[in-house]
């Protein structure tokens, strides 16, 4: 595998992960602002299912099955043959469809435009939410002192 392919895979993982985690409202709002929704055919129409989430014993040991989460997936093909996949958390078919189309468009010449209009703003929103929680957590950081008992 060339460095170029690895680089492309890493980039694709990032935007797909972002689209999977981002709140439905945020994705749909940005997607609706994309002016030219491309024509496409379904490779797989949206389907709601479950994924069994695994943990590890003691955090680092052998895997075990923790419980499921809902996931919606679909696959599209654009008129130029570009294939896009949507795998998103939750049960929103419109969000899965938008994610699949965005995944496809990110592999075409529209990538720069989509990144600026959708991917980067989503990334900023998610990052801001995360930072706010981390800042609130930081405000609750404590120092415990062990009191010295008077022994004499």
């Amino acid at each position: 595998m060339t460095d170029q392919t690895e680089f492309a895979t890493a980039a694709r993982k990032e935007w797909m992960g972002l689209l999977a985690r981002a709140p439905e409202d945020a994705v749909m709002e940005l997607w609706d602002m994309v002016p030219d929704h491309p024509a496409f055919d379904w490779l797989r129409s949206p389907e709601i299912g479950g994924v069994m989430v695994r943990g590890r014993t003691g955090g680092t040991g052998a895997p075990f099955n923790l419980g499921e989460m809902t996931v919606t997936r679909c696959s599209v093909v654009l008129k130029d043959g570009t294939v896009g996949h949507g795998y998103v958390q939750g049960r929103s078919k419109p969000k899965a469809q938008a994610a699949a189309l965005l995944d496809a468009m990110m592999q075409t010449s529209a990538a720069g435009r989509i990144r600026a209009k959708v991917i980067d703003p989503l990334k900023q929103q998610i990052s801001a939410t995360k930072t706010t929680r981390a800042a609130k957590a930081a405000a609750t950081k404590v120092e415990f002192f062990t009191m010295v008992r008077g022994e004499d």
Partner: protein, 363 residues
């Protein structure tokens, strides 16, 4: 035995219509929205997700509303729903060491690297009813500090160098899945953990408490408790690589327990582990204590005959949906069963009377 009965359709229909009306309550009061339940009863939502074994806050909120706040009924609804979902696959094991922590405390290590972070906790509240909540009122924004950028490593990781705590060696063994194959005994630790994490909070708490009170005491300390968000990754066959498919809120508890050592091993702390969906602190600590108690054999301890050491007892009774199903079925019509028992008792009484009566007549 339950024998099917028929009839009563109209009465059942009317009972369900009344249930719907009672669920709604007085129409003078605004109806609850799912968003209100999800946002304002979030710990109930978390419990339903953990024991329903399905992470989806909106669905859990719907189940709570439909169940009129009966959480076991809500868990039942979620369990029933999840059986209808096609299984897309299994995730990579989540990396709890990469958790974005809202809370992270240790009862054993005062100066834990990364610090003690209290998070949104009930701890240190006075448990006095707050009548301000009875009136509508805004909440001031929580203070913010300087957000830490670096990851929060597991505290037990720092003890590993000293070899003073048991290692949890990584493996890629495929764990059994009790949603696919029925539980068999003896179960292994991964299956026990899957069963405990979806087990009834009250039952797991009671079992854990019994170990603290002396029934297979194992001297647990909370080495670390952390709550926060973790990304979930799954290998996607059509892509040929793993992507993040979402993130879940988790509570993780690692206990540090006594271990005497053996002829072959020096004294070393042992561990119990709890990992639960949502902010589910009590459940996670209880799970870790019960996990540790069930490891007696592996750690060369004595079987003291304590309930919490009995894997079959604990795992067969921890599931509140199985338990409530079997318990509540006895209220359904058992007329045929009961009719035969009634006849049997009448016959026994008749025989007993006949035995007594001739004797009395002779006296």
């Amino acid at each position: 035995m339950y024998v099917a009965v028929k009839g009563g359709e109209k009465a059942i229909e009317n009972a369900h219509a009344w249930l719907a009306e009672e669920r709604r309550g007085s129409t003078d009061v605004a109806e609850l929205s799912l968003a209100q339940i999800r946002e304002q009863l979030s710990l109930a939502v978390n419990r339903v997700m953990a024991e329903g074994s399905l992470f989806d806050p909106d669905l859990a909120a719907l189940a709570i509303k439909q169940a009129r706040g009966d959480l076991i009924e809500a868990i039942f609804l979620i369990r029933a729903y999840r059986t209808t979902l096609p299984r897309f696959g299994y995730s990579e094991p989540v990396e709890t060491g990469e958790m974005a922590c809202d809370r992270r405390i240790s009862a054993t290590f005062k100066d834990a690297p990364g610090g003690q972070v209290l998070g949104p906790t009930f701890d240190y509240t006075h448990r006095l009813l707050d009548f301000k909540l009875a009136a509508d009122g805004g909440v001031p924004a929580a203070p913010e500090g300087a957000a830490l950028e670096e990851r929060t490593p597991h505290i037990t990781g720092f003890l590993k160098g000293e070899d003073i705590i048991q290692d949890e060696a990584a493996s890629d063994t495929t764990p059994g899945d009790l949603t696919r194959e029925p539980m068999e005994f003896p179960a292994n630790r991964p299956l026990r953990l899957q069963s405990l994490t979806r087990g009834d909070e009250g039952f797991v708490l009671g079992m854990a408490y019994s170990t603290q009170r002396g029934y297979a005491r194992n001297h647990a300390f909370v080495g670390e408790l952390r709550i926060g968000k973790v990304a979930v990754e799954m290998e996607i066959p059509e892509l040929g690589f793993a992507i993040e498919i979402g993130e879940v809120d988790l509570t993780e508890c690692e206990t540090v327990n006594q271990f005497k050592g053996s002829k072959t091993e020096p004294p070393q702390f042992s561990r119990g582990y709890g990992l639960v969906f949502g902010q589910s602190e009590r459940k996670s600590i209880a799970m870790a204590l019960v996990d540790r108690a069930l490891r007696w054999e592996e750690l060369g301890e004595d079987n003291l005959g304590a309930p919490a050491q009995d894997e079959e007892f604990v795992l067969s009774h921890s599931d509140n949906i199985q338990a409530t199903g079997f318990l509540e079925h006895i209220k359904l019509p058992h007329y045929v069963d009961f009719q035969s028992e009634l006849e049997l008792v009448r016959k026994l009484r008749r025989e007993a009377e006949e035995r007594i009566t001739p004797k009395e007549a002779a006296e």
